[in-house]
Symmetry: C2
């Protein structure tokens, strides 16, 4: 395994300079690049145990996600681990399974200094988060002005979906969603609605229930609910926008089963940008969240907090449209 | 948060009895059940920091997987985390990205007592694994008699795929695979072949290249290779078995694009049991690996090693067939 001396020799700098880069102390831009290139070339990893003994840090970050079986959360964890691994940090994985008790437990663990910082994608509105006084980045959910919140522009995402559907000829749009989620995610609806309002087109919204967890059973119920709407002639739409790709896929399958042609009769746009097997085609046309950029923004911000450097409190990332064949 | 006293009160036993259960010391079957029920009801979590101070343990397990974007590895990690979380253990996630250097680094970390044990799904044939003298469970890959290996019965999986295809009328079978993987996974082919050999039916095998990593680029190449086979009339099969569901999905899409009717003209069986979005339908008909059982077997075996209790060295789990619509 490469040592710090090997890195110094490869970079043509002193061991002290390498050490500074590793400890994120300011060094000359030129030397920083040399050292980072050498680290990458030699696949150098810091000796974690020695670090803990030398510093008060554990060089471990915890991430709380609600459900790792959801491909979006899985991709997020994957990128965070990759980015942390490259700079000698470890990732403790905390899968809350949408359980408040579990989330509380994990927060307590961080409080007890078992890790240096926390990234959380919370689905529980826990006051514990608001009281956090250690390095912490929240994804999507806003826990007040003192907590960093990284999110995508949900309102722009809703507007983008509406613009695409409008351009492609939809005149009877509907937003299908499940779960009462955090304030920011609700903006997908307000953004979507605003575009059709401006165009003078009536837009509907249907809530498939307030349960956020998308288990197999829940998904089955969404399909049944949709079937009821169709059979009672309450389904008269030519453009659908859903709160997530998981919901969009259920809707697509059920409508096709009921004889609707997609995208010819009904166009469909989901949210998240999920791909089959995580690497293939988009499941459906979708508003793509930049998962890798979210992961990078979280890690960078958290490290700045840990190193007591300046950091932003609000980070808002852009979304884009991905064609998955369910739009014309 | 529930304390050990709350658990004792709920279970109607002494704090000492709860403590014994938590430390995995033998207690009466009846009391064990009472305590476990109370732990579940109260969602009791052991105070991790206090434990580390009290014992020499870190109550942390590391898992090495080659690629978290692969839904099979993702599901495995998810279940391992769930099972560990329920008994007060934490999970350190190590995503090797098929990189030997990263795997070595993670092994070194475990050696340095940063964690109590290691579960690894290795794609690198590292001698470091053979030398491991701490609690360690290997999935699929056999690192010698002293290392626990948990695997599914790959030969039975291959035989099962062949039996299904044979029963459903296939007479021109082929095995499509990618990557030169560990000895045990090769048995999917030997099992598949043996059934057709016995039936006196000729069976082909096509290797899509020795690269195991299934990136977007690799998947694209598999599609191109298949297209070449078809256009050169070298593709004359009515039953396909693939080494993984990821490969099966590429094959399905490409063949459909080329005008083949699946399952009418060509039937297709993959391997792993992956579902759309991890919770929906199977992507393709498939040999289902019992991911949850694999996770449970790994954790149970590792804890026995940590607690210096007797443990098995070879654990072989059964597979089953899952109908995903690509067989008749």
């Amino acid at each position: 395994m490469a040592t710090i001396k090997d890195v110094a020799a490869e970079a043509g700098v002193s061991v002290g300079t390498v050490s500074k880069v590793l400890r994120q102390v300011n060094v000359k831009e030129k030397n920083y690049k040399k050292v980072m290139d050498a680290i990458e070339k030699l696949d150098y990893r810091m000796n974690a145990y020695a670090q803990v003994l030398r510093t008060s840090r554990t060089f471990t970050i915890a991430i709380i996600v609600p459900d790792l079986t959801n491909p979006f959360f899985c991709a997020l964890v994957c990128y965070v681990e990759q980015i942390l691994g490259a700079i000698g940090y470890r990732l403790l994985l905390c899968n809350s399974q949408y359980n408040e008790g579990r989330e509380k437990h994990y927060i307590e663990m961080v409080r007890q200094n078992m890790v240096d910082g926390l990234i959380a994608l919370s689905y529980a509105n826990l006051e514990e988060y608001e009281k956090i006084d250690f390095p912490f980045v929240s994804i999507d959910r806003n826990f007040g002005n003192h907590v960093t919140c990284v999110s995508c522009d949900n309102e722009a995402g809703g507007r983008l979906a509406a613009k695409v559907l409008l351009e492609k000829g939809c005149r009877k749009p509907v937003y299908l969603h499940n779960g009462v989620r955090s304030g920011d995610i609700r903006k997908r609806w307000t953004g979507f609605k605003s575009v059709f309002d401006e165009a003078g087109i009536n837009v509907k919204r249907i809530n498939f229930g307030n349960e956020t967890t998308l288990t197999n059973t829940r998904i089955h119920l969404i399909g049944e609910e949709l079937e009821r709407l169709v059979s009672s002639d309450a389904f008269d739409f030519d453009g659908i926008f859903t709160s997530s790709d998981v919901v969009a896929l259920v809707v697509k399958k059920k409508l096709e089963q009921l004889g609707f042609a997609i995208p010819e009769e009904v166009q469909l746009i989901g949210y998240d940008g999920l791909r089959e097997m995580n690497i293939g085609d988009y499941y459906v046309s979708t508003i793509v969240q930049p998962v890798k950029n979210i992961a990078m923004a979280c890690v960078e911000n958290l490290l700045n907090q840990i190193d007591k450097k300046p950091y932003q409190k609000r980070i808002r990332l852009s979304v884009s449209f991905g064609d998955g064949g369910t739009t014309k």
